[in-house]
């Protein structure tokens, strides 16, 4: 029985992301070296490893925020440095910090962000309703709690058209009820042909999920 995933999308729109012997050095020491893996539409990769083992660094490399020591990142068969603009239009990166201006309101932050990223303006879903911040969306962000800030950042997932989601610890400081909602959002993104690369300690139990652990011996991949 062919994998349902492939039926949903015709071949043309299949997105592929692959890392070719990627390595990164910090203070003359290799955090990890020659990592090679490939992800296609509908794949989700969970990066494991203790804190400080380089999970966040790997995510920053994939999002081109950091330049690798050697090796390359390939999107749709081309090196991301050559197609920087079109690649980054398809990328949504959520880091440790929420990335919201504290003096602006959550609404203003999202409006500003939507102007700079490919987002589906027609989609009438109200992101702040989804993340349960509807009545807080007009206060400046510095009045919001850490959990609310995180959800305000996660609101972007509802409006973004980006195919590749790079999420760094998305489940931290959000409550049980919302993390279920977040998980279902991720699954629906995969079904729509998106790719997700995330670093988290939670066990998501999403079927045919790929794992990659950065242990001290660098580059050990466990399928």
């Amino acid at each position: 029985m062919p994998d349902p995933k492939n039926i949903l999308m015709n071949q043309a729109s299949v997105k592929t992301l692959s890392l070719k012997d990627l390595s990164f050095q910090r203070n003359e020491k290799f955090l990890f070296s020659n990592i090679s893996l490939t992800l296609e539409s509908g794949d989700i990769l969970q990066i494991l490893g203790q804190n400080g083992s380089g999970k966040t660094t790997l995510l920053r490399l994939i999002s081109t925020a950091l330049r690798p020591y050697s090796g390359e990142i390939i999107w749709q068969g081309k090196n991301v440095n050559d197609i920087r603009e079109s690649y980054l239009e398809d990328v949504l990166f959520l880091g440790h910090q929420p990335g919201l201006k504290r003096l602006l309101s959550a609404e203003e932050n999202l409006v500003w962000w939507r102007r700079l990223n490919k987002t589906n303006l027609s989609k009438n879903v109200n992101a702040f309703e989804e993340v349960g911040l509807y009545n807080h969306k007009d206060e400046p962000c510095n009045y919001l709690s850490v959990g609310q800030l995180k959800r305000a950042a996660l609101a972007r997932l509802y409006v973004s058209e980006a195919k590749l989601w790079i999420l760094d610890e998305p489940f931290t400081s959000i409550d049980k009820e919302f993390s279920i909602k977040l998980k279902s959002l991720i699954v629906s993104h995969l079904k729509r042909g998106g790719i997700v690369v995330l670093a988290t300690h939670q066990d998501l139990k999403i079927e045919n999920m790929k794992y990659f652990s950065i242990s001290d011996l660098s580059g050990a991949t466990s399928e």
């Binding site: 081109t64 603009e85 910090q97 990335g99 504290r102 500003w112 962000w113 700079l116």
Partner: protein, 224 residues
């Protein structure tokens, strides 16, 4: 395509600056205080004061602009928006340029407009007022552009106070020389064409090079 990023950052930062006008006044207050110090430190005699007025006005404006420089990327770096800006599809060059222009509008512009008033306090001759404003308008723009490089290079360091000035001031010296000299020439009734031309050239050069170097420095130092 490029100017979306530029306009968005420009609008956002101007909105922030206008909404929180508190720190708009800092460079101006600094300017006032230091100018008030000079006669006390030197002489109340207006003839001697007018001798040194152009130089002192320019030095104080330079220091006032330097004062507010380290905040350029600091709060974006702290709340994680800088990380987002770096991976936006639009080129970083224009976004850095937008932030530098906002810094100029917030510090350089008011300093230049206020300078003639303080020139009055230092008994600067009337013929010097307009050239002083003109030289400061161009000069503070160059200072903001060059300063953005220093701000980016010292971004992740939190105790960098003197380091930023040490890095940036050698680059400020030519601007100071030509800027204050323009006012001196004007006061003596000579033409200010040549220093003005050189200031224009310095502005063009820094306009071209500084945002590029700053974006390289940002990519480098964001995860310091």
């Amino acid at each position: 395509m490029n100017n979306i990023g530029f306009l968005a950052i420009l609008r956002r930062d101007l909105l922030l600056a206008v909404r929180y006008r508190g720190d708009l006044a800092n460079p101006l207050i600094f300017f006032f205080i230091v100018i008030a110090l000079i006669p006390l430190g030197l002489t109340p005699d207006s003839k001697e004061l007018s001798e040194i007025a152009p130089g002192m006005l320019w030095i104080t404006a330079l220091l006032a602009s330097l004062l507010s420089l380290d905040g350029l990327f600091k709060d974006d770096f702290a709340d994680g928006t800088l990380e987002q800006i770096i991976i936006l599809p639009q080129p970083l060059y224009f976004m850095v340029l937008a932030k530098t222009i906002v810094h100029w509008v917030v510090t350089g512009l008011p300093l230049s407009l206020l300078a003639p008033v303080l020139g009055l306090m230092l008994s600067l001759p009337e013929t010097g007022y307009l050239p002083l404003m003109l030289s400061l308008l161009i000069g503070t723009a160059i200072l903001s552009l060059i300063g953005s490089v220093g701000a980016a290079l010292t971004l992740p360091l939190n105790k960098e106070g003197i380091l930023l000035s040490l890095i940036v001031i050698p680059f400020y010296m030519p601007v100071l020389i030509f800027g204050s000299n323009m006012v001196v020439l004007a006061v003596d009734g000579l033409s200010i064409a040549s220093p003005l031309a050189i200031m224009g050239a310095l502005l063009a050069l820094s306009l071209l090079i500084s945002p590029y170097v700053t974006s390289c420095a940002l990519r480098l130092s964001i995860y310091g």
